[in-house]
Symmetry: C2
Subunit: 397 residues, 2 copies
């Protein structure tokens, strides 16, 4: 498909793969501050401010981190960057409404950095409702069943309209047990789409990360990295993990990927994970994480704490006057007992979801903040050991 070139002095057309990549986001810079083994501490400068890495990004699917205000996130949770979902925001409230507000930051009243995914993961998850072509993915949405086409160019346009600080390239995330032949075909297409994403950029204040695929196969991971790493993304993500594979395979792939990636750019592991996964992958060189787990588990009644998981509906907490986490200083732990939180949970009170979400996100942010300091202090291995020693008390292990 030939495209008009808006960069050259004279109007003409290019093959997408040959279009000049002239738009770059100077605002986004990764700066390594310290390294301890493979773990690293850094600063990620973005259009909406600087993030201390390693960092966890709470997920704000529909322009809200469920139950939280921006003040909760900033002041109580310690969030520095949140994630928005392109697919969901494109459907609701739709781009026109976001654009009227001047972007997602204004609409949701969050003025720190936002990373948006490409929508690829959601669209590919639609299974029977989508059709993959070289041009892009045609799909029927899960709300109204209307037909849409997501192309690399379209998802860049959507993310630029959202005003994302860090956009993600459009990729396919194949099942981790897909046949090698399919994996290779898919990776090659993801590489072509990555170039088209770069070519489609028009905003210098919106950075873009490329995504490395390859499942849990070392050879495939290396192959895709070879194809991709020359492309001029401002950061890199490890895609295709935490989709049902063994933890050990995920950790191996994380370690391999961070080694393949360039050290002067941020390394983001998508959709990960459990607290243990964060600790393990920070130790393997990952800088950024996102996952719905802390907020979703909170709503489903599971608090994540320094001493392990607390399943709040359990009768054992009925008269328990201690806080969710004895080592936590969050608003919830400072002010409420497990007995009260259990009562709210069992009574389906809205306040429960809010208080437990706040705690779980605070726990994640404290975990990565502690890891960062430990890396700076050159004692990350001790931090990891201390973390596991405390977790050993858990009810669920």
């Amino acid at each position: 498909m030939a495209m008009a070139c808006s960069f050259c002095p004279e109007p003409h057309v290019h093959e997408p793969s040959k279009i000049h990549t002239m738009i770059q986001c100077k605002a986004l810079q990764y700066e390594e501050v310290a390294r301890d083994g493979k773990a690293r501490a850094g600063l990620l400068h973005t259009t909406h401010g600087t993030i201390e890495t390693p960092i966890f990004m709470p997920v704000g699917t529909l322009g809200t981190v469920k139950s939280m205000t921006p003040e909760d996130l900033e002041d109580e949770v310690g969030a520095q960057i949140i994630l928005g979902n392109t697919y969901h925001l494109y459907l609701r409230p739709g781009l026109e409404v976001v654009e009227l507000h001047g972007g997602l930051h204004n609409m949701m009243n969050w003025h720190k950095p936002i990373l948006t995914d490409s929508g690829g993961y959601q669209v590919f998850s639609l299974k029977d409702l989508r059709k993959i072509r070289e041009e892009g993915v045609e799909f029927q949405d899960h709300i109204r069943g209307s037909r849409h086409l997501f192309t690399p160019e379209k998802v860049v346009q959507i993310q630029e309209t959202l005003g994302s600080d860090i956009m993600m390239a459009f990729d396919e995330c194949p099942p981790h047990d897909a046949p090698i032949s399919y994996m290779q075909k898919s990776m090659a297409r993801t590489t072509r789409w990555a170039q088209r994403c770069l070519d489609a950029r028009t905003r210098e204040d919106c950075a873009m990360f490329g995504i490395l695929q390859g499942g849990i196969n070392e050879k495939m991971r290396r192959e895709h990295a070879d194809q991709m790493l020359d492309l001029d993304f401002e950061g890199w993500a490890i895609g295709g993990l935490s989709v049902g594979e063994e933890s050990s395979a995920m950790y191996d792939m994380a370690e391999l990927s961070t080694e393949l990636m360039l050290d002067h750019k941020a390394k983001y592991m998508m959709g990960v994970g459990k607290p243990d996964d964060l600790i393990e992958c920070i130790g393997r060189g990952v800088d950024m994480f996102d996952c719905v787990l802390p907020s979703r588990n909170a709503r489903n009644g599971q608090a994540l704490t320094s001493i392990g998981a607390v399943t709040i509906r359990n009768a054992t907490y009925e008269k328990d006057l201690s806080p969710l986490d004895p080592n936590c200083s969050c608003y919830t732990c400072k002010n409420y007992t497990r007995a009260y939180l259990r009562h709210l949970y069992k009574s389906k009170e809205m306040l429960y979801g809010r208080l437990c979400t706040l705690h779980n996100l605070h726990f994640y942010l404290k975990l990565v903040k502690g890891a960062r300091q430990a890396i700076i202090d050159g004692r990350f291995e001790d931090y990891k050991k201390e973390y596991y020693a405390k977790q050993a008390n858990t009810e669920t292990k």
Copy 2:
């Protein structure tokens, strides 16, 4: 039922109706500050602090005003006192759990005044599941279907365990169209129960209000007031209104009741009401109100504003960048557009309920605060006119 008497010098037993009424709450004092026509501004001193009247009390049925933290209520809404429901708290989390926390204030982390109802209204609403006897009401609860007996003595004991600043006497609220003969029988029993409630008190820090019934019949209202007003309650409530009768009848009964009541005690109108009802009844001498309307309507998609109701799901708000209420300075109106709130509502996002509840409660508290100042300034009638003039713009009128 004979009861041990803890007041007389020598241990012995009394019939409940003959027990000395020696427990009084000295902490509760009503102080009239200004009067404008029949409307009055006052101060109500309680064990947990002083309330400026007229006041609206947000309803915290199960030990939480739905979606709100105590900080939201105090700092953002301007709440000075909240209401808890005896029936609901008795069932969930149960008295033992509340007692372990040292009372409802501690459990829910709200350290300002709390008024609790007697549970009578909920128990009588169970219709087929309850049986009224002189001793009390036997009922099957709506959760587990277990059998319980609420007597005047029991509901005082429950409310004292909750640690309520203002307890309500156990009464029957008959349908407003009940036959006169039933009304009279019911009122006489409510009077006997009122005396038993007074006799059952053991805590001097928990005040108690009596409740006047009589439906929408002037003669009945006078009859019940005659029976009741000699009893030594620290304040008085108007019961049995806002249960389906015409507004004009409700206003007439409010006016009659405040005239019958003693002016040196607070006058509380139970379960009322719409913003118009508050304005009308303040003008008729009422000091205190409670109602689920602002919080329930918020969750159901209706914002109450200075210019009338805003039904947020309406398509007209899809691209509306204005705040819910152009004359409001609440957190929600300062930071979010109608378009964003509509998006949250339609997406069933938890944040919607929270933001709209905050606004609606703020609107109610601002309304009564404005009324109080107008009374002090001797311009309540103008305040009322200005209120109605603005409301005339509403979408729903």
